[in-house]
Amino acid sequence: MIEVNNLVKKYGDFSAVKGISFTVPKGEILGLLGPNGAGKSTIMKILSAFMPATSGEVKVAGFDVFDDPFEVKKRVGYLPEMPPLYSEMRVREFIEYVADLKQLPAARKQERVDFVVDRCGLKDVQRKIIGTLSKGYKQRVGIAQALVHDPEVVILDEPTVGLDPVQIVEIRNLIKSLAGNHTVLLSTHILPEVVMTCKKVLLINKGSIMVNDTVENLTKGGGGDSLEQAYLKIVAGETWA
């Protein structure tokens, strides 16, 4: 569903992504893990056809992001680090607007909007103005706008930031329930989150892949600890050396 081949992204002289390749099969959840500035957000921006790559080939849902950005955009739901929200609009109205933007057929619109409002726990606030909501609710509206058009691929950049523990559990369950029908790429720097929601992990640092393995293999030794150890070894070794 997602195929990335030798992807390079340079900002001027600085290489944010240095020749990364990976694939995500349909229906799987891949966790993108790495410290701040590792290139997670850059990869996600390129996959959502927001930003062109410097070189390399990226195919999402069977379409090349450079040649067919329109087709890719119809099939991808993207939540950036900072959720894109029109603060003066009402929650439901905004989600309906996004559904139109993503060209969701009118016949399915109400059903899908009802569905995401329900799943993201927005029922009580759907008539409220977005600007008046708390950070956690805004984040949920952000997730709802990424899912409303029933995209084949969902790209979530740190979706649980700013949520309280109960909400985090809810959102993780929501993400887990996406597996099967949707292919999910999830970035985070919260280790247990990866263990709980993802099947596979891509650990990146300074624009290169350090580990590409299943969660199962990584945690074989001592539960969640060995992932943490692996992470610290790789990241700390690089940063403090």
């Binding site: 329109f70 991808v76 029109y86 603060s87 003066e88 609009m89 706008q145």
Partner: protein
């Protein structure tokens, strides 16, 4: 998207405040001009001054309205793209299957229609002039040709300013910077007509052709020239094209 843009103005009190302010300001101006008309007429009856026509008053009134529009439109357009950047909704638009041109046009026409409503409200003034003028020769009503031409000119020149504002708001994330740049740009275009008066020969004719103010004046004299239409349209297309480029270039510079 156009619908959202247009309705967006009415979510907040901003559009109401703007339209209200504009209409009030114009009402006061209108009243003052009527007073001055009355004064001049009395003077001329006493033979102390030449009679002036209602058309002359209308022309002065509308050139006043033009100046007020020059000042108000930049405030109106400064938030067009700047808020998209600060709310990060630009990334939503850029990852949706819509063309940059569609976004730019939706923004432009959203703002332009609100300005049109603003202008339409001032139509009440010429209606007054017609309703309360008697048909006797001494105080005939305004020339409808001139009024029509003036409104056409006002609409075109306002759209040009909206296009300029749209462009500057796409350049920066700061509303204040967008505001100031739009002001300077509009003022510079206005200065062109002054410049046209100071030079001679080819320079003069070129400058007066591209000076929006000169073209507007020709409209408000009731002469509708094709070249003036073309000039306004070129300005609008030119600035919207630049906006398009500046938005597209963002993703490359990112």
């Amino acid at each position: 998207m156009f619908k959202r843009e247009f309705r967006g103005y009415f979510y907040t009190p901003m559009a109401y405040v703007f339209i209200g302010m504009f209409v009030c300001l114009m009402a006061v101006t209108f009243w003052l001009f009527l007073l001055s008309y009355q004064y001049h007429t009395q003077q001329s009856v006493m033979g102390q001054a030449p009679q002036i026509t209602i058309d002359r008053i209308a022309e002065a009134f509308y050139s006043n309205m033009h100046v007020i529009l020059m000042i108000m439109i930049p405030f109106f357009t400064m938030r067009l793209f700047t808020t998209e950047s600060s709310q990060n909704t630009m990334s939503l638009l850029m990852t949706s299957p819509v063309r940059v041109t569609e976004v730019v046009l939706a923004k432009f026409f959203g703002a332009a229609s609100v300005v049109t409503i603003m202008l339409a409200m001032t139509l009440v003034f010429p209606v007054f002039l017609v309703a309360f003028s008697d048909t006797s020769a001494t105080s005939a009503g305004p020339d409808m040709g001139i009024i029509t031409g003036t409104y056409l000119g006002l609409v075109l020149i306002s759209y040009t300013y909206v296009a300029i504002g749209t462009f500057w708001s796409s350049i920066t994330e700061s509303q204040l910077v967008a505001l100031m740049c739009t002001f300077v740009n509009i003022f510079a275009l206005w200065l062109l007509s002054l410049a046209a008066q100071t030079v001679d020969g080819v320079g003069k004719s070129v400058l007066s052709q591209i000076a929006v103010n000169e073209q507007f004046i020709s409209f408000s004299k009731g002469t509708l020239e094709l070249k003036a239409f073309v000039m306004f349209a070129s300005y609008i297309v030119f600035y919207l094209f630049l906006t398009n480029r500046s938005i597209e270039s963002r993703s490359w510079r990112a």
